[in-house]
Each structure stands twice: as structure tokens, then as C-alpha cells.
């Protein structure tokens, strides 16, 4: 007989506080997919190699497949669904992926967008080479990364210009 062990956790998910009971062995990616219907969180390897399940936890990049769901307790979790406004307006980085033809099969896309969002939130200016280094944890087999780097660079420049305009 396998004893199931559950724990009740409370955390912020895409800006909203949620409470759920979760199997202590479950990964964050499984919980987000199965309990919250967040289909942007993809599973490509389940051992933290491919980056398709990337989410932000307290603003840091994590492979949610090797992050236990119970560790989310008390934390702030952000997925691609959380980048979309209530009225359905998508974020600048999502729009840049569309505009730069950085999407093909789409399976790596949400994870890539979350890694990129993390970079954009630092407010730093990265060179193309630095962007390549920072994004090397996300794998894509369709695009050769060229348009993905273009999209991230474009969104970064736009955000930095906006910030400079405000200051």
C-alpha cells in the first residue's frame, strides 16, 4: 500500500493568492498543469534539461519540473498566462515573439518567454552574445534561435527606451 501524503499550500499564482492541497511528491509543473489548467507549462524532459516548463518563482527562473510543488508555499509563481492582461492584451515580449516569427511548433515558446521576461525585468541591456548565454537553458528544435534572440532583443530595446523616456 502506497501512503499518499498531502500538504496544503498557499501561494501567489499569476498575481492571485491560491490555496490547494497537493501530493508532497508532485512537481510544480504537474500541479500547475493538473490543478490549475495552466497548459503553458510544458513538459519536455522532466529532469530540468529542456527548459519548456520554465516559470518564475519569486522573480527567479526555475525549471518547474524539478521544483517540488510544496516549495511554492508562500511564494510568488508566474507563468505565461500571468503575462496576459484581464482584457486579453498580451505583453510586449509575447507580441515580440509573434512579430519576429519566433514561434514555430510553440512547445518551447512559453518557457522561452518566461526566461526572457526574467531578463527584461532586470532592466539591464544585454548584447546579443549575452542574450545567447543567458537563454542557453531553453532548448528549441524548430527556430535555430535566430528569431527568438531577435524577439528578446527587440522587446528589451523597447522596454529600455520606454524606461529612459520616463526618467
Amino acid at each position: 500500500m502506497i501512503e499518499k501524503q498531502f500538504k496544503t499550500i498557499t501561494f501567489t499564482l499569476n498575481g492571485k493568492q491560491v490555496t490547494t492541497s497537493v501530493d508532497m511528491r508532485e512537481s510544480l509543473s504537474d500541479m500547475l498543469r493538473n490543478d490549475f489548467g495552466l497548459t503553458s507549462v510544458k513538459k519536455g524532459c522532466e529532469v530540468g534539461e529542456c527548459g519548456a516548463c520554465t516559470v518564475l518563482v519569486n522573480g527567479e527562473v526555475f525549471a518547474s519540473c524539478i521544483f517540488l510543488a510544496i516549495w511554492a508555499d508562500g511564494k510568488d509563481v508566474l507563468t505565461v498566462e500571468g503575462l496576459v492582461d484581464v482584457d486579453g492584451t498580451i505583453s510586449d515580449i509575447q507580441q515580440a515573439f509573434i512579430d519576429e516569427t519566433a514561434v514555430q511548433c510553440g512547445f518551447c515558446t512559453p518557457g522561452f518567454i518566461m526566461s526572457a521576461e526574467h531578463l527584461l525585468r532586470t532592466g539591464k541591456r544585454y548584447t546579443r552574445d549575452e542574450l545567447r548565454k543567458e537563454l542557453a537553458g531553453n532548448m528549441c528544435r524548430c527556430t535555430g534561435y535566430h528569431n527568438i534572440i531577435n524577439a528578446v532583443e527587440k522587446a528589451m530595446n523597447a522596454r529600455l527606451a520606454k524606461k529612459a523616456g520616463k526618467e
Partner: protein, 765 residues
């Protein structure tokens, strides 16, 4: 006109928001899950499977073994059915196998309520094997006395052999003064490594039919294969294909859909999910055929070919899958890319005790392009000729016609592609700059052409169907059997349909998820066929729909059809360009007509009997750090003639992806086999080196846009061709930089160290 414009992908919004539904997103939560027990020997027979301990585990629903499956061998290749029994795919595997033929073969399956139970049950299964000798080298496997892998089918391991004979090779090589150039070239086993692993789930519906929802490129073909494996009539099987996370040919096979359907039947049709792990994707799906190759060319001192010979072995692995058709295509390039009056070519497809090889992006052509273009470089190196000029002089000439495929080279494609590539990468300057280098770090620049032909006619049927349904607002639903797998065909098809009917792009709604109960027949995503073949069906169906709309327009406007047209969703009188009514008004009036209502729709099938060459070139620039044995790709350009671009930005993106796969093939990727056990050593993304962002330079792309005369939209293959020529271009660049020919892929530090040592390169530093 919307064709030729870079419209945004129709599926991009859903994909950047996570709303696009892939197979796992649709699976019911109460579905049982499965795990497969894979053999831990490379070759042998399962004597027994003891399931007693595993069955006691809480949560285990049922355990099935190789002794339970029906004795119904089935084929898996994603080829259309052939009415000619001699041309049908080889049916050489069962759902689970008692005779295990590679390390990892499917022996038993556990159906359980969750993965914890399933995994524990797999560990508790006890298998007894009788071991046989095994063979992993295709050339050795082809020899007499090799362990027989399919003794019930054949008394050797050669699945097939074919040849090409032109002129008289033996006589031709007697010509005095000929220069002989000979080489061995090797391309390894690599894997598609799409980011979404193969996944499917199956359930039985009311009425007893079986539905399989699956990540596949070929829903209509998978339907037939599942029916064959179950021994069922084809119509009782329904396949649904949601969005898929890449395929690249791996999913151009019936992978685990037949087993999943059968497992569901064993539990009363309850939904059963079969979610393949990354490790299983590497070992238990399909791989690219490894191909050792031997080429001899005999040249006259003026640099023309007198005679050429090719021997090519294709490592099939344990089961036939796509079989000989892959190497047959590879061999076909040899006499065509560089025509010669005297050619002797032979190819063998050989079973080995290894993971099964199937279709992978460009179907034998990355292998053949590496073999052929390395050899061309060896010729020009030996004879001290200019590599670009030699290619220009000897490659397929304009007007070349192949009587078998009816393909013709209509345009000066090769020269145009070379000219553009040379200009983009500043080739001439760099060739000069990189001459006579010394020192530990050297640069080089190398060239490769490639040969590719679109689609599979006349080897198999080429047919595609399309349905268009007019809505009351004047928009249409567009359905084809051709599948969106990331390449962007839904967008290209929408553009084709909009232009054909005369609608705005936003008025074409593409039904992206094939459902064999709903979508008309199309063979699916392979052979870079879909924009070419699908284009015929869309053009024909669009014209049928347009004719129907205009007939009704004549009734409603009193104007003769001859002076009516549809432009941007409006019925227009062509004589004065006046808009008479919108297509939406027409559709609504006709559908709700009290006298004679009609739901306006059109459907048709187009079967083509033509084919199209799709050619191009790569030039690569590398920097080789000799002491580190590391080749770094600095620049690479691909130029393609794929006819008219339906959507230039999407076309460019396709080329980027293919180049990336070619770079991985050239520098990084190889599935390693333990020679002692036959086990795959690097079945994960940590140990199998998939190129990441840092392993790519910016990718340069251009096109020579010559309209393909046989296509209604002037288009032809683009999906696969970009993967063909990067690897040999990189190899030829390393040769220019160092003087050392690397004839075996991947060109990683291990290989470079061995070859540099052999060449004595370290002593020259």
C-alpha cells in the same frame, strides 16, 4: 493578394499565451497511465515474464506482456497505403515483442492509476531472457554469418538492395590519364529531439470504435496502421491530431498509437495515456539512419567526370519502419547532383540490433549531401581546382530532365544560389584572407550544394483533399488533411485559400486539428510536400467554391458570371469595379432562402503526377582552435530556390531551423551505442548534445525565387532542404583552415583530435 506577404502566423497568439492545446492538454484526468518494460539485452528471446509481484502493487490495473499480444505483425512507416502488395511497407513488428531485437525493445506494459504505481510495477517485473549474439555495424550485419535479426522473414539481414547503372563504369575507368579520387564518409545515428515527446491516449467510444488522440504528423496514415495492428476495419478507428510540439519525421511513423489503442481495449476501452519519456524518445521512437559510404570518382585532367562509383549502407536498426526508401532517396542524388555518363551505385538497407531508424528531416539527404559534397571537396583539393568553379561546371545543368520523376531543372538555380551566398558571406575576400595560415588558430570557409526533390510521386501516391465551408458572414472554414507541425502550413494554406477565393486573410479560419472523422484525406507532413501538394487541392477547391458563389451572385445581381469576381470578400462587377454585395450578404441570403436554401461548401481531391526539384547551397566560415581541437562556426549562409515564397518571414524561419539541425548534425550530435551491450549511452538532453543558443551564430538566409511551373502557386519544397548542406560546408571550411579532411560526423573535439593526430597537425604548430 496575400500570397508573398509575411503575414503573422495564424496560431502564434495561441502559442505565446499557452492556449494552444497539445495532446497532453486534452487528456481526461481519469485516464490510466502506462509504462513500458524495455529489454535489457540487445538480442534474444523472452523466456518468461513474472508479473506476480508487480500485480500486487496498489494502483496497478493490468499488466500485459509479449505473450498476450495478437500475432499480427504490422508496418509502421508513414507512407500512404499502396494498392500493390509488393510495394507495401514491411510488417515486421508486434505490439510487444517476444523476440527482442535491440536493447530497449518493448517487452511488457503496465497499465496503472498513476505513474508511481506504474514505475514500481515495472521494477517488480522479472524477465528471463535467452540471449543471442547481436550486431550493431551495418556493414558487418550485411555479411554472411551475422546474427539473423528477422529469421522468420529472411535468411540475411539485408532488408533491401537497389542500384543505379548508367553507361559502363568498368569500361570507362580504362580511359588513359584518369585521376582517381576515393573516399569513405560516415554519418552517425542522430535523433529528432523535438521538444514535445511523442504522446497519445486512446479510448473506446460508444458503438465500439477506438479513438486515439496523438502527437503525429500523419493522422490518416496512423488510422490505417492502428486498424492493421488491431486487425480491425479502418473506419472503426478515429485519430485526432491536436497541435504538436515538433516532429521532424519521428512522428511520421506510427509510434505507440497501436499499442496504446490495444492497451485501452484490454481495460474495456477506458482511456489510457501513453506518454513517452525523453529517454524513450531517444531509444524507442525513431532515429536518423547512420550511413557509411564509399565513393570513387575518375576524373579527366580537365576536371570533368569520366566515371563514378557509390556504395552506401543504411543502418536500419531492429525494425523496418521506412526501410529502404530513405537510402534509395539518398542514392538518387548521386548521379543527379553531378551527372556523369558512367555511374555504378549500390545501396543496402541492413537490419542491426539498434534503435529503429525512420524518417528524419530531409530523408537521407543530409547524409547523402555530406558524403557527396565532402567527396567533391576532396576532388578539388587533390586536383588543385577552385571549389566553387568546379561545382558550377559539374553540377546539374539547366534543362536537366529526370525521366523517372519527371523533374526538370527549369532555372539557373545553382549559380543564382551560389552567387547570392558568395555575396552575403563575402566569400572571395575570405578565401584569399585564409590562404596559407599558420599558428594554432586558423579560419576557413567551405561550400556545399544540395539536391532535394519535393514529395514522393511517382514512388507513392501524392494526393490531398480540401474542404471549404462558407459561413454566413462570408468567411470560410478551411480543412485539409495536411498537418501543422510547427512549420507554418496553416498560415500558408490560409493565404492560398484567401487569394484563390478572393477573401481577406482574416476571413479564412483554418481548422488546425485533424480529426479523421471530419477532415478529408491528406497524407500529412513529410517530404516537404504540403505547400506543393496541398496547394493543388486548395486551388482546385477554392475555384469550385468561388464558382458556386458566383453562380449564386449571378442569380442575386442579374449580372453574368463572366463579369463577376470576388475581391476582398466582395462580389465585384469587373467592368466598372463596382462592389455589388459582400460574400457575407450572399451567403446569408442563400442559406436562408425560403425557396432554395444552400449551405455553400466545396470539397475536392487533387492527385498530382508531377514533382519538383528544390535546390540550394550553404557556405560556412569556421575558426579552428587546433590545440583545443574545436571548430567554431563563425558565419553560415543558406540560399534556397523553393520557388515563390508564400510567406517570406515564415520561409526564412524554416530555413533557420533546418540550418540549426544541420549544424547539430555537423558539429555536435550522435547517439552513442555501447559496443559491449548494444545499449544507448546518451539517451537524454544532458549527454546528447543538442545545439543551444550559444552554439549558433546569426543565421544568414536568402532565396532565389524562381517560380516552379508545375505548382499553382509557383512553390516547392522548403521544410527539409535547409538541413542538408550545413554539415558538409562546415567540414569543407575545416579542411580549408587546417588541410585536414574530417570524414566522419559529428566534427567534435574527439574526432578532430584523432584526425589532427593522424595528419600530424600538432607537430606543425
Amino acid at each position: 493578394m496575400v500570397i508573398g506577404k509575411s503575414h503573422k502566423r495564424v496560431d502564434a497568439f495561441d502559442k505565446v499565451t499557452g492556449r494552444a492545446r497539445y495532446t497532453d492538454d486534452m487528456c481526461p484526468k481519469h485516464a490510466y497511465v502506462t509504462r513500458i518494460l524495455h529489454s535489457t539485452i540487445a538480442h534474444g528471446r523472452v523466456v518468461s515474464v513474472d508479473t506476480s509481484e508487480a500485480e500486487k502493487i496498489d494502483g496497478v490495473v493490468k499488466i500485459l506482456t509479449c505473450f498476450d499480444v495478437p500475432d499480427l505483425p504490422f508496418p509502421t512507416a508513414g507512407h500512404p497505403w499502396s494498392n500493390d502488395p509488393a510495394h507495401q511497407d514491411v510488417a515486421d513488428r508486434k505490439l510487444l515483442n517476444e523476440h527482442v531485437r535491440y536493447y530497449g525493445d518493448d517487452v511488457a506494459a503496465v497499465i496503472a492509476e498513476d505513474y508511481v504505481a506504474a514505475d514500481r510495477a515495472i521494477q517488480a517485473l522479472k524477465v528471463e531472457y535467452e540471449e543471442y549474439p547481436f550486431v550493431i555495424d551495418p556493414i558487418k550485419a550485411a555479411q554472411d554469418g551475422a546474427p539473423l535479426i528477422h529469421p522468420e522473414r529472411q535468411n540475411d539481414n539485408i532488408l533491401a538492395h537497389s542500384d543505379i547503372r548508367i553507361g559502363n563504369y568498368e569500361e570507362a575507368i580504362k580511359e588513359p590519364g584518369l585521376i582517381k579520387v576515393e573516399g569513405w564518409y560516415y554519418t552517425p545515428t542522430v535523433q529528432h529531439a523535438h521538444i514535445e515527446n511523442h504522446i497519445c491516449y486512446a479510448y473506446r467510444e460508444q458503438g465500439g470504435r477506438m479513438t486515439v488522440v496523438t502527437s503525429t504528423q500523419i493522422p490518416h496514415i496512423v488510422r490505417r496502421v492502428v486498424a492493421q495492428a488491431l486487425g480491425w476495419p479502418w473506419g472503426k478507428v478515429r485519430i485526432i491530431k491536436p497541435y504538436i510540439g515538433g516532429g521532424f519525421g519521428n512522428k511520421q511513423d506510427a509510434l505507440y498509437e497501436p499499442l496504446c489503442a490495444w492497451l485501452s481495449l484490454q481495460v474495456g476501452g477506458h482511456p489510457v495515456k501513453l506518454d513517452v519519456s525523453r529517454e524513450e524518445t531517444f531509444v524507442n521512437n525513431r532515429v536518423r539512419h547512420a550511413m557509411p559510404c564509399h565513393i570513387i570518382s575518375w576524373l579527366r585532367p580537365d576536371g570533368t567526370f569520366a566515371a563514378r562509383k557509390l556504395e552506401l549502407w543504411s543502418d536500419q536498426g531492429a525494425y523496418a519502419s521506412h526501410g529502404h526508401s530513405v537510402v534509395a532517396k539518398a542514392m538518387g542524388a548521386f548521379p543527379q547532383l553531378y551527372p556523369c555518363d558512367n555511374v555504378e551505385a549500390d545501396s543496402w538497407t541492413v537490419y542491426t540490433n539498434k534503435p529503429v531508424a525512420g524518417a528524419m528531416r530531409a530523408y537521407g539527404m543530409p547524409q547523402a549531401t555530406f558524403h557527396n559534397e565532402c567527396h567533391i571537396e576532396d576532388i578539388v583539393t587533390k586536383m588543385n581546382l577552385d571549389p566553387v568553379e568546379f561545382r558550377r561546371k559539374n553540377c546539374m545543368p539547366v534543362g536537366y530532365y529526370d525521366d523517372f520523376s519527371k523533374n526538370e531543372l527549369y532555372h539557373d538555380t545553382f549559380n543564382q544560389c551560389l552567387d547570392k551566398a558568395i555575396a552575403l558571406i563575402d566569400y572571395d575576400k575570405k578565401v584569399e584572407l585564409y590562404k596559407n595560415q599558420t599558428g594554432p588558430v586558423r579560419r576557413g570557409i567551405g561550400t556545399s550544394l544540395f539536391w532535394y526533390n519535393t514529395a514522393v510521386w511517382p514512388i507513392s501516391v501524392e494526393t490531398s483533399s480540401c474542404r471549404m465551408i462558407l459561413n454566413q458572414d462570408g468567411s470560410i472554414q478551411l480543412m485539409t488533411g495536411e498537418t501543422e507541425i510547427g512549420q507554418g502550413c496553416d498560415t500558408a494554406f490560409a493565404q492560398m485559400a484567401a487569394d484563390t477565393v478572393g477573401l481577406r486573410l482574416e476571413d479564412v479560419h483554418v481548422f488546425t486539428n485533424q480529426d479523421t472523422d471530419v477532415t478529408p484525406y491528406g497524407s500529412g507532413a513529410y517530404a516537404s510536400r504540403q505547400t506543393y501538394i496541398g496547394g493543388f487541392a486548395i486551388k482546385q477547391t477554392g475555384e469550385l467554391l468561388k464558382a458556386k458563389i458566383l453562380r449564386h451572385a449571378q442569380k442575386l445581381t442579374r449580372m453574368p458570371v463572366a463579369i463577376l469576381d470576388i475581391v476582398n470578400g466582395n462580389i465585384v462587377r469587373t467592368t466598372d469595379s463596382r462592389i455589388l454585395m459582400t460574400v457575407g450578404e450572399l451567403a446569408t441570403r442563400i442559406l436562408y432562402d425560403m425557396e432554395e436554401s444552400e449551405h455553400i461548401a466545396a470539397e475536392s481531391t487533387y492527385s498530382i503526377r508531377s514533382n519538383a526539384y528544390s535546390f540550394g547551397a550553404s557556405i560556412a566560415e569556421v575558426e579552428v582552435d587546433i590545440p583545443l581541437c574545436r571548430a567554431k562556426l563563425l558565419n553560415i549562409v543558406n540560399v534556397h530556390d523553393c520557388g515563390i515564397l508564400i510567406n517570406p518571414k515564415l520561409a526564412e524561419a524554416q530555413v533557420h531551423g533546418g540550418m540549426s539541425m544541420g549544424i547539430g548534425f555537423g558539429l555536435y550530435e550522435e547517439l552513442l551505442v555501447d559496443e559491449k551491450t548494444g545499449r544507448i549511452l546518451n539517451d537524454n538532453l544532458l549527454d546528447y548534445k543538442l545545439p543551444t543558443t550559444v552554439d549558433h551564430p546569426d543565421l544568414l538566409v536568402d532565396f532565389a525565387e524562381n517560380p516552379e511551373p508545375t505548382s499553382p502557386f509557383g512553390t516547392k519544397a522548403l521544410g527539409e532542404p535547409p538541413a542538408c548542406s550545413p554539415a558538409p560546408a562546415i567540414r569543407n571550411a575545416i579542411l580549408q583552415a587546417t588541410g585536414v579532411a574530417i570524414n566522419s560526423l559529428p566534427m567534435n573535439p574527439h574526432k578532430l583530435f584523432a584526425e589532427f593526430t593522424k595528419a600530424g597537425l600538432f607537430e606543425t604548430l
